[in-house]
């Protein structure tokens, strides 16, 4: 209870700080909008030249792209400060401050920012999903909706877990930003249909960095009814929770290795 109250105090402060510079915040949100529009236009221009990509039409690709943004955006909104830990906060010694408070360090890191930029991503994702969804006449069964919601929420948890693990490595190596970047590379693989990849990559995306599980499979189930939505949802929840538990362990072990860099 105390933590919930504390969390809201922290993010309120974060939002107030950001709104102090309204134009800057707007530019940052707009930046994510532009980035995604450029990617979507590229996919559109590629798809213009072929009838379909392994059975996926442009609209279906748009649906996949739109959905892939939702868990990423959610994670972005709530845990963006893990990036700064991995990139410079450990290296510059800024983390010292966090270790002096009577609350867990990870909690403070998460509560540090409420990233308004993520809202821009979320908006583009929702618009893409609803526009493409209505063009496709998807049969919105209860199972499909349930699966998409679960995949969004627990998908965000899975992405966060990977971020925690890689950011925690900064405690040992001082800087681990590039590892986080690799993680995001694998997420961007799932923006295209899984079928275009060879078996090795598909396996990698299903079992090692299981981002296909939270993005590709739910969309396939919704569009083509390939698997039972409840089975996929159960797998997503189980895997995400397991990864989250693992990430907490890794964080707690590596946290103790923290040495101030001074300055």
């Amino acid at each position: 209870m105390r933590y919930i109250k504390l969390y809201f105090t922290c993010i309120k402060r974060s939002i107030i700080t950001r709104l102090e510079y309204k134009r800057d915040t707007f530019i940052s949100i707009f930046n994510f909008f532009v980035t995604n529009v450029a990617s979507i236009l590229s996919i559109w221009m590629i798809m213009e030249s072929i009838p379909s990509l392994n059975g996926w039409t442009m609209v279906e690709m748009g649906f996949l792209y739109g959905f892939s943004m939702l868990p990423v955006a959610l994670d972005h909104i709530f845990t963006d400060d893990l990036w700064s830990v991995a990139f410079f906060k450990v290296q510059s010694g800024e983390m010292d401050r966090m270790f002096t408070k009577p609350v867990p360090v990870l909690f403070l890191v998460i509560a540090e920012t409420f990233q308004l930029e993520g809202l821009g991503e979320l908006a583009v994702g929702v618009v893409m999903l609803s526009v493409c969804g209505s063009m496709l006449s998807v049969s919105w069964s209860f199972g499909a909706v349930f699966l998409l919601i679960m995949a969004t929420l627990f998908g965000a948890l899975m992405i966060t877990s990977f971020k925690i693990i890689f950011a925690a490595l900064a405690f040992k190596f001082k800087r681990s930003g590039q590892l986080l970047q690799i993680n995001y590379n694998f997420i961007s693989y799932t923006r295209y249909p899984l079928k275009i990849y060879p078996t090795i990559i598909r396996g990698l995306l299903t079992f090692v960095f299981p981002f296909a599980l939270i993005i590709s499979y739910p969309v396939e189930v919704t569009l083509f009814a390939t698997y039972s939505p409840y089975v996929i949802a159960a797998v997503i929840v189980a895997v995400s929770c397991a990864l989250f538990a693992l990430s907490l362990c890794v964080w707690h072990i590596l946290e103790r290795k923290y040495e101030s860099t001074g300055s």
């Binding site: 800057d24 530019i27 532009v34 980035t35 450029a38 236009l41 590629i46 030249s49 379909s52 295209y192």
Partner: protein
């Protein structure tokens, strides 16, 4: 006259050496990105009824995707825009008004230095290996041997112009956004737009009719697409010369715009100490 800028050229080069670890990080991250693009193009071409899409065969497209990623990393090392924004917000820009060197030319030389060092450390070895592999596989068709040295010379000229063009755009953006501190957002947005319009995501021939024509005559084509097309022998030397002339023309125009914008902006700058 230009001799006094030599230290900046050297500083740019030395800085690249000091941060050479960045290069290895970039290699891993980019290899994954390029791999993803490869699979996408293989998928696209296997679904197409024609072997040539918008003037590119699959082999040419793979060469293009690999080269353009290396080219972009090597050729645009600077963060001129960020430095300009920093100088304005911190007030250090005041120093540039009293120093007997041009604020603008300084950036050009430091970026050219960094670009040359990038070429030595990464660009030349990587491009050479890729070139030999692609040529051996028949992905790059060399009609006559003398085309290679000719195009190499043209490519280096195009690269020089590309670095200067990009740096100029960077500078203009930096001066234009001096009343925002959202340096990261502006920088990333500028990068995305330039990448998109310069053919780094997909070749400009994929753009619909009018846009394709417009972009081919814009400064963006000379920033990424044309140098790479010259290197992979997909653009003949006559067109390459035309592209170089176009880039040179745009460079003059954009430097003029940059000079004008800086003059207007520097009258408005209020330096808060520093």
């Amino acid at each position: 006259m230009l001799r006094r800028y030599k230290p900046f050229f050297r500083a740019g080069a030395m800085e690249t050496v000091a941060y050479r670890f960045n290069i290895f990080g970039w290699l891993i991250v980019s290899a994954l990105q390029i791999l993803c693009v490869f699979f996408l193009w293989i998928g696209v071409y296997s679904n197409s009824e024609q072997a040539v899409i918008n003037g590119f065969t699959l082999r040419e497209m793979l060469v293009y995707a690999a080269f353009i990623n290396v080219f972009n990393f090597v050729s645009f090392p600077g963060n001129t825009m960020y430095s300009v924004v920093q100088d304005i917000t911190k007030g250090t820009i005041a120093m540039s008004f009293v120093k007997p060197i041009s604020y603008r030319v300084r950036f050009v030389f430091s970026n050219l230095g960094a670009m040359c060092m990038n070429m030595v450390l990464l660009g030349l070895p990587l491009l050479a290996v890729l070139y030999i592999v692609f040529a051996a596989l028949g992905y790059i068709v060399i009609a006559a041997w003398w085309l290679v040295p000719l195009h190499l010379v043209l490519f280096f000229a195009a690269q020089l112009l590309a670095t200067m063009l990009y740096d100029c755009l960077d500078y203009i953006c930096g001066v234009l956004c001096f009343y925002t501190t959202a340096g990261w957002g502006m920088n990333s947005m500028k990068q995305v737009i330039v990448n998109f319009l310069s053919g780094s995501l997909i070749p400009l021939s994929f753009f619909p009719g009018v846009f394709k024509q417009l972009l081919n005559y814009s400064p963006f084509a000379g920033i990424s697409q044309n140098p790479v097309l010259i290197l992979m022998l997909k653009m003949d030397w006559a067109n390459a010369l035309l592209s170089l002339a176009l880039s040179l023309g745009w460079l003059v125009v954009l430097e003029g715009v940059g000079w004008l914008v800086f003059r207007v902006a520097s009258k408005k700058v209020t330096v808060q100490g520093g």
